[in-house]
Symmetry: C2
Subunit: 188 residues, 2 copies
């Protein structure tokens, strides 16, 4: 029964994760998550007292996925420059999703940043994990005191590219801009 409960909870989180990304948080209802997960809406309250609590579980899930991905990159690529290039490859690998729905992290933070600041401060954990990792790589490249500013700069570039790719539904723009950022990383 415990395993079954965990499965149900995970099914709800997975469906919510996908729908919050594709539809936005506020535009997604429990009814839609119930449809997508196959778990009756009435059962949701056993696992989550509110939609906000479900969002927190989704954020925790995303943070865990990002951390696992970064550990894998660290293991796979020995040099900080290769790791930063792997980070940029992620944009190209997500071309279709970025073009259709934008960056999961950027769009969620923008949405919550309007009038749901408490939730947004939770969603910031995704940014923090990336920024800390980028800072480590830039530090290893010997950028000293600049590293934190450079990490923020790189993330801003990536967010701007994601936003315009989504707004214009333009994968050609995405590829051109990522190529420029690749050069920027090579010249660091």
């Amino acid at each position: 029964m415990i395993a079954k409960g965990q499965d149900n909870r995970q099914s709800i989180v997975n469906a919510a994760n996908e729908l919050f990304y594709r539809r936005g948080y506020n535009q997604t209802s429990f009814a839609e998550i119930a449809d997508a997960s196959g778990i009756p809406k009435g059962n949701f309250y056993y696992y989550f007292k509110s939609k906000d609590e479900l969002l927190e579980a989704v954020i925790a899930e995303r943070v865990q996925q990002v951390k696992a991905m970064l550990v894998e990159w660290d293991a796979q690529f020995p040099t900080p420059r290769e790791r930063l290039q792997r980070f940029l490859s992620m944009l190209l690998a997500s071309e279709e999703e970025l073009t259709r729905h934008g960056c999961p992290m950027g769009t969620l933070n923008m949405e919550l940043g309007k009038i749901q600041q408490t939730l947004q401060s939770r969603a910031m954990e995704m940014f923090e994990v990336f920024i800390n990792w980028l800072t480590c790589q830039l530090d290893a490249l010997g950028h000293g005191e600049e590293t934190s500013a450079l990490a923020m700069h790189l993330m801003a570039r990536v967010q701007g590219i994601s936003l315009m790719t989504h707004a214009y539904s333009d994968p050609v723009f995405l590829r051109r801009e990522v190529a420029q950022l690749r050069n920027w990383v090579d010249q660091l």
Copy 2:
């Protein structure tokens, strides 16, 4: 009576414009717009059949404001480089709003870009007006075939900076990044 009707309509558009920016489009109700404008909610339907129609009026208002601002900059600054610098000064002048609510154009497009693509295609007009103007300035600087890509690049930089300034509520980041973009424009 026509003048009064126009005043009421404009009051609704002004209140909606402000609230859509501060709260987001989907998180703003007619009741809130009625409160802010002082026009009873029941009267709204005389001017706007739906919230979507009101959004279109808000977008038209914003587009008109942007166009008027660009005409003013063109009159005030004789060289394309000065005009591009004026464009960047706008970010610093909007520091408080950007930090609290993000870019009005970027956040609206991100919100609508999830599942309201028809409305988002209307909201794109704001981007188009800026991009066309940036393209004109870059063309005047002699960038030839590159101009359109450069205009998109500059807008992506500005959007990325706005997004991170909002996400981190960090005006220091804003100032640092705008200073970098100022150098970039000087070196064009």
